[in-house]
């Protein structure tokens, strides 16, 4: 993975920069000890590491503004960091960068049940947002798999999704307002507790901009009342194609499950060996969950089962209790862990039109043989967001590179069939250089022009999202 050459001028001024940071932040909020900064050398894309120049952990919006103003004056790149769970390298540092972590900003600022929103500092974890409104049976809908650890700041930066976004949408659909600090240290309030923008939808632009336009320190999030109940059904098929058709038929029938999850045989076998959830040994497996009162759940499940039966399932298991539901979800929830037991893996995130599912799965199978690397598929089938897990051995020379080449081929295939490179993880450094397969030079140019407006000096998370070659001139001009 190519990263820009660190600015030697910045490296040489490290002591001075750290001293100035300590003038605007409490001493312990600035970390420059090489052993301690090592904890920030990577995010969840652990294949790439680089300790930063320093790490700052501000406690307020005002402190964030002071840091950014200072870094702009010193010409120091800033890499914003939530909880560091990005799978795309979104929080990966460069040697000349200051990591700006929001971990110390986790307060709930306001809860309003009548108007159904919560305002939080963005260092708060995703799950603890729901935790803050649980007493009144409310929840925050987007639920990325990392929700126990991941921060709202990162969710906003990457526009995170989750298993239940088929019904509730992703982060951008549940975000009402943000407090954004620009690289110039200007504090901008965008949106609020009301709906939609009065002018240009800058809130929609901020969400998913991967920390390149500003640092979001506070967020107003939509909260929802929990449904009365939820229950899954598990259906096994002897072909991916038939399972894909079943998904399509359920959607077409007008039933909106809250989740439709798909696992293929390699993934089923791995999770069975790991978690023993009692899954059938079949080609493809769907977990379909619906919500409502008992009667409503019954009504929806009976329709789903009727549709599934038209496709000759090899297994059909309806949950009758909370315990059975947990068992059905057990395998799915342990899928990543199970694959990790077998070997190192790389998790992809392309999205495809649901209709292309059988073709794409078949092609991935063929590529798997060509590359000589195993792959398991587990994904959100309702919205076509795939998560192929490619197994490789990090200790075997050349295996990572082979895995990355395989991954790139899969993502290009996703684009070719009408989909995209990333559905919920973000571009980061991981898919940066593949952007040209989805967008033309002009398409990328207008996006970079947007960054010019917010961060003319290209100091915020500069080496992400855009191919280095495309952003080269802009980054060089800033130095």
């Amino acid at each position: 993975m190519d990263m820009p050459v660190p600015n030697p001028d910045v490296l040489s001024r490290k002591a001075q920069i750290v001293a100035r940071l300590r003038q605007v932040l409490p001493t312990e909020a600035v970390i420059d000890d090489p052993v301690e900064t090592r904890a920030y050398e990577c995010d969840a894309l652990t294949a790439y590491r680089c300790p930063p120049l320093a790490v700052v952990l501000p406690s307020s919006t005002a402190e964030v503004a002071a840091v950014l103003k200072l870094c702009l004056a010193e010409g120091v790149p800033v890499v914003p960091r939530g909880a560091g769970t990005s799978l795309a390298g979104g929080a990966m540092p460069t040697e000349d960068s200051v990591i700006l972590g929001v971990a110390r900003m986790g307060e709930v600022l306001e809860v309003d049940y009548e108007n159904r929103f919560i305002r939080v500092q963005t260092g708060r974890t995703n799950l603890s947002v729901s935790g803050a409104v649980e007493e009144r049976d409310f929840f925050y809908a987007p639920d990325p798999s990392s929700q126990l650890a991941c921060a709202i700041a990162g969710n906003i930066a990457m526009n995170s999704g989750g298993a239940h976004c088929l019904k509730y949408g992703v982060t951008t659909n549940n975000l009402l307002g943000v407090t954004l600090v620009t690289m110039e240290g200007e504090i901008v309030e965008i949106g609020g507790a009301h709906l939609d923008a009065g002018g240009l939808d800058i809130l929609g632009l901020i969400c998913g901009s991967e920390g390149q336009l500003g640092v979001v320190t506070e967020a107003t999030l939509r909260i929802l009342r929990k449904p009365e109940g939820a229950r899954p059904v598990l259906v096994g098929f002897d072909s991916n194609e038939v399972a894909g058709q079943c998904v399509s038929d359920i959607i077409k029938a007008g039933i909106l499950p809250v989740a439709i999850e798909f696992m293929d045989r390699p993934c089923i076998r791995a999770t069975e060996a790991f978690a023993g959830a009692g899954y059938p040994d079949c080609e493809a497996l769907l977990i379909i969950e619906v919500e409502g009162s008992d009667e409503e759940i019954e009504a929806q499940l009976s329709r789903i089962i009727a549709i599934a039966k038209q496709h000759d399932p090899v297994e059909l298991r309806e949950s009758g209790s909370a315990e059975e539901s947990a068992r059905i979800w057990l395998g799915r929830k342990s899928a990543f862990g199970a694959m990790g037991q077998i070997n190192d893996y790389m998790c992809l995130d392309g999205t495809i039109p649901v209709s292309q599912l059988p073709l794409v799965l078949r092609r991935i199978g063929e590529m798997s043989r060509d590359f000589g690397l195993d792959v398991g598929n587990v994904f959100h089938a309702g919205d076509g967001n795939m998560h192929p897990l490619i197994l490789f051995d990090a200790n075997k020379p050349g295996d990572l590179e082979k895995c990355e080449a395989f991954g790139a081929e899969i993502l290009k295939l996703c684009v070719e069939v009408g989909g995209c490179l990333t559905g919920e993880h973000g571009v980061g450094i991981e898919k940066r250089d593949l952007m040209i397969s989805q967008y033309t030079e002009q398409d990328l140019e207008i996006q970079m022009a947007v960054k010019d407006v917010f961060d003319p000096s290209w100091l915020l998370n500069p080496a992400k999202v855009f191919p280095l070659k495309a952003s080269d001139a802009r980054r060089a001009a800033a130095q």
Binding site: F138, L166, L195, K252
Partner: protein, 374 residues
Amino acid sequence: MMRPENEAALAELVAGAAVPLRVIGGGTRDIGVPVEGDPVRVDGLSGVSLYEPGALTLVAGAGTPVAEIDAVLAAEGQRLAFEPMDHRALLGTQGTPTIGGVVAANVSGPRRIQVGACRDSALGVRFVDGRGQVLKNGGRVMKNVTGYDLVKLMAGSWGTLGILSEVALKVQAIPETEATLVGRGLDARAGIAALSAALGSPFDISGAAWLSEGGEARLRIEGLADSVAYRLRRLGAEICAGWDIHEAAASAALWGELRDVVPLVETPGIVWRVSVKPSDAPVLLEALDGPVAVCDWGGGLIWLVMPEENDGGAVVVREQVARLGGHATLVRAPGALRRRVAVFQPEAPALAALSRGLRARFDPRGILNPGLMG
């Protein structure tokens, strides 16, 4: 009147334009500061190019009539989830609303509270920027975080950043049935409190409105027949005791009328569209001495009528909205008034600077609907 027949012709036209352009879809949404410019009609870029009912996605030329899209979707038992308003009745305009106009204005109806706004259903756009370049963003899949989300930015930019040539939308299955609970004689506070209680219940409300006329509160539920019956029963017992029930077509008629703000059509005066948090709606209405109003989105969207004299209520409405937090748009007003007072909510200086910066990048010559948004 220029009327390009395809995207390439539109791009050529913009690239060669020597004077400002006034972008027109179907010409039914005469909103914003009146634009001085050569009219360009985009209704030549018409037709559904892709529709996959099993994937809930549709792609169409920006000039495609909304009615055509509705018909194509209805044939498969589907619809646009966000229920876009038809502005013709309220504004007294003629013409055929187009899907590009809907997206350019981010037009969202009563179901916005449940399924999101037009911008939330917009999956991808193609557009021509102010230089005449054809650009795209997003795609046609439900989940896409590849690069910046310019789709949201284009939705609601009123043709000031680019001229839409194609839009990809997420669509929705039409539920088996619907029903509406109607309560009467409720003042704004009581009415909106009832809506809030229902929206905070697990009963999945898809419409929540209060009308000043008759103090009428409406709550809509949609879904499988058994489920609708169940939720009607629970809501009736817990929140809406004694409310009337309107089922199926009768329910749909109530919301069709509300979507298009028909109750205000005959009331003379200036019509404002205000977005605040729902509990602020009664506060705002009291501060304005109880104007004729329709509150949608559980109280969060207020359509209100102000006297036509002087500034059409601009100062007082904006003062209250600034105090409460939110935004107000002047929707129905003579052109002269729209030239005199800000039509869109004035932005705080830092935000206004960002908006200006974006406009300068997308349309460096300032030729696309210049000044429409102020």
